[in-house]
Amino acid sequence: MSEDDEDQSPASDLRSQRPCSPNKSRNCISSSQTFPDHVLENVLENVLQFLDSRCDRNAASLVCKLWWKVEGLTRSEVFIGNCYALSPARLTQRFKRVRSLLLKGKPRFADFNLMPADWGANFAPWVSTMAKAYPWLEKVDLKRMFVTDDDLALLAESFPGFKELILVCCEGFGTSGIAVVANKCRKLKVLDLIESDVTDDEVDWVSCFPEDVTCLESLAFDCVEAPINFKALEALVGRSPLLRKLRLNRFVSLEEVHRLLLLGAPQLTSLGTGSFSRGDQSQQEPPDYAAAFRSCKSVVCLSGFRELMPEYLPAILPVCANLTSLNFSYANISPDMFKPIIHNCHKLQIFWALDSICDEGLQAVAATCKELRELRIFPFDPREDTEGPVSELGLQAISEGCRKLESLLYFCQHMTNAALIAMSHNCPELTVFRLCIMGRLRPDHVTGKAMDEGFGAIVKNCKKLTRLAVSGLLTDQAFRYMGEYGKLIRTLSVAFAGDSDMALRHVLEGCPRLQKLEIRDSPFGDVALRSGMHRYYNMRFVWMSACRLTMGCCKDVARAMPNLVVEVIGSDDDDVNRDYVETLYMYRSLDGPRKDAPQFVTIL
C-alpha cells in the first residue's frame, strides 16, 4: 500500500549535482602532496560504499570534487523526485554504477483530472538512455509516469539481471507490456502494479512467465482490470517457492483464492484477496475458507475484498491476530460486519477502510488497535452533499484510543475544531495529517466558526508534522498558524481556502522546509507568488490552479529565475482571458525546459 507514501528524507539529489569549485579541494584530504589521487579514490570508494542514506550521500558529495566524483561512482540507488528536474543524460554522466532508480513524474493533482492527458512524464527517454549506460540495472520504481509497452519491452531486453519492477499510479501500458517483462526478465523477484491504469490487451501475461522455478517474491496486480488465466496463476504460484507477497485482482474468486492458499499459504506474508466473492458455483457447498486462512500462519498484511460477499468475511478471523496491515478500502462493510473482525486485530498498525464502517466502526478501532500508526478512511460516496457516515465523533475516538498515530487521511462531511484540537494533544507522533471535509468551505458544524483553530492546533502541537492537507472554511488566520508553527512541513495541499494573498505569504515566508506546494481554487495572486521567490529554487515544485495569477507575473518569475521551469497549463483555446493563468506548475531544473511539452503547455 503506497498511496502517496512520501519518503521521509528531504528533497532530491539536485543540490549536489553541481560540482564544487576547485578551490574547495584545498580543504580535503586529497592534498595531492601526500597520496596519489587514485589511491585516495580507492580508499574513498571503499568507505563511501557503506553510505546508504540519500542525505548522507548528498552531503558527502559536497565535500570536495574528489568526494563528488567518488560518490557518483559508488551510488547504486538514485532517487529523482521530479523527472523533469534533470535530463537522463545528466543522470548517466554523474552516476556510473546505478542499480536502482526511483523516478517520479506527474504532480499529484494530475490524479484528480486537474491536468490534461498527455502532459508528459514519459519513461521512454529514461529507459533508452539507461539501456546503454546501466546494463546491470536491477530495479525500477516509477510513480505517476507514462510508460508504454515499448518501454517495458526495451526494459526487459536491456537489463539481463533485472529484478524489481514497481509501477505506482502509472499509465500508458497494457497487459502486453507486462507479458514481455514476465517472459524476458528471468531473474524477476518483484512485479508490483499498484493503482496503475493497465490496458486490457487480452494477453495472457500470467502464462508468459518462464516454465522453470521462478525467483518471484512479490506479485501484485490488484489494479489490473482484466481477467487472468487462473490455471496459469496456480501453476506459477506452485513453482515460485520464494513467493511472499501476492495481491490478486478482482477477477480472482474466493474459490480460486482458496486453491492458491492450499498451495502456498504458509510462506505468504502479504495477501490481496481478489474479489472475495464466489464465482459461479453458488449451488455447491462452499469450501472451508476459514481453514485456508488458518494455514496462513505468516500473513501480516491483508487487502483486496474488491467485491466482498460479507457473509464470508469471518473466514479471515484466523489471521486477524497477526495482522499489522489491513486494507478494507474497496469493501462496503457495515459496522455490524466490521466490529467482530476488528475486535481481534490487536497488532494492527496500518488500517485503510471506507467510511461505511461509520463512527461506530472507528470507535471499535480505537478500542482495539492500540498500535495503530496509519489510518486512512475513504468515502464510499465521494460527493459533496451526502449525509456522511463518519464525523468528528469517529476522529475523536481514534485520537483517544490510538495514541501512537503517525499518519492520517480522513474524508468526512462534517468536522469540528474541538476534535482537531483534541487530536493535536492526544497524538503527538503525527507526521502526516490530511483531512478532507468534502463540502467545500464548510465551517465547524457545531460552532459555525472557521476551521482555523483546529488546524492551528495541529500545526502547533504536532511538532513532527511534515505533511499537511487542509479543507473546510479557512481564513488567513489558519495560514498564519501554519507559517508560525509549521517549521517541519514539507508537503502542503490547499484547496478552496484562505482570504487573500497574505495567507500564501505566511506559508512561503514561514515554512523553511516546504518542498511541495499544491494549491487549487484559492484566492492567491501575483503578490503572493512574488513573495516566495526566495524559496522556489529550494522546492521540488509549486502547483497553483484556479487561483488569481496573471500571465505577466508568471513571466516575471520566469525571467527572474532562469533555473526554474514555469509551465502554464491550459486547455481552453479561447484567447478571451489570455492574461488569466488557469494552472501554474513550476519546478527547478538543471537542464532547462523540457522538449516534450504538448501544445496546451506554455513554458515561459
Binding site: D111, N113, P116, A117, E202, P382, D572
Partner: protein, 186 residues
C-alpha cells in the same frame, strides 16, 4: 448518417449519480483530445463528458473531492450493476484484423457515427472509405463492423445512432475479404 441530437434527458454521459457533475470547458477539450489518441477503459472519469452546454463553472467541480478514479470506478461499478443497462459509460472492445492489440472505447463519448469513425481511423491508423446506404463502405479495404446483442455482425452506420449505442456489444474493423456478407440486411 444520423446526427445525434443532444437532448439532455436522453443523453448518455458519465457522472456521479444524481449530479450534473463535471463538465468544465477544458474537460470537453480534453475529451476531444483523448479520444483522438485512443481511449482506455479506466480513462472514464468525469472528464469524458460530452454535454452540449456547460453548466456554470461554479457548480461543477473537477477533481473534488480528491479521490482517484480507480477508487471511484470500483464503487461506481457496484452502483451501476443496479442501474439500467444503458448506464453511464458504454464500453465496447474494438479490434482490427491484423492489429495485435485491442482497445476499449466509450460509445457515449461520441455524438454520432462521423465522430466515432474518425476516432477509430486515428486510433488504428486507417481510413474507412465512403458509406453508401446500399453498398456499404467503398474506397477502402477496411470495413467497420459491430456485433449486436443477437450476435450478428452488422455494418456500422446501418441503424440509427441511439439504437447502435444500445445494441452494440463490440466493434471489429474487418479487412475487405472477410467483410463480404456483413450487414446485408439494409
Amino acid at each position: 448518417m444520423d446526427e445525434f441530437v443532444n437532448l439532455k434527458a436522453t443523453e448518455l454521459r458519465l457522472g456521479l449519480p444524481g449530479t450534473d457533475n463535471v463538465c468544465e470547458e477544458r474537460e470537453r477539450v480534453s475529451c476531444n483530445k483523448r479520444t483522438l489518441q485512443g481511449v482506455t477503459e479506466n480513462e472514464t472519469e468525469s472528464s469524458m463528458m460530452k454535454t452540449g452546454t456547460c453548466p456554470p463553472r461554479k457548480a461543477q467541480i473537477v477533481g473534488w473531492p480528491p479521490v482517484r478514479s480507480s477508487r471511484k470506478n470500483i464503487i461506481q461499478t457496484k452502483k451501476n450493476e443496479s442501474d439500467s443497462e444503458g448506464g453511464r459509460g458504454v464500453y465496447v472492445k474494438v479490434s482490427m484484423d491484423g492489429a495485435p492489440y485491442l482497445r476499449k472505447i466509450d460509445l457515449s463519448c461520441y455524438k454520432g457515427y462521423k465522430e466515432l469513425l474518425k476516432a477509430l481511423e486515428i486510433m488504428f491508423n486507417f481510413s474507412v472509405g465512403e458509406y453508401f446506404e446500399r453498398e456499404g463502405y467503398k474506397g477502402s479495404d477496411f470495413v467497420p463492423t459491430y456485433e449486436d446483442k443477437d450476435g450478428d455482425w452488422m455494418l456500422i452506420g446501418d441503424v440509427p445512432w441511439e439504437m447502435f449505442v444500445c445494441t452494440c456489444k463490440r466493434l471489429r474493423i474487418m479487412r475487405g475479404s472477410e467483410a463480404k456478407g456483413v450487414g446485408c440486411g439494409v
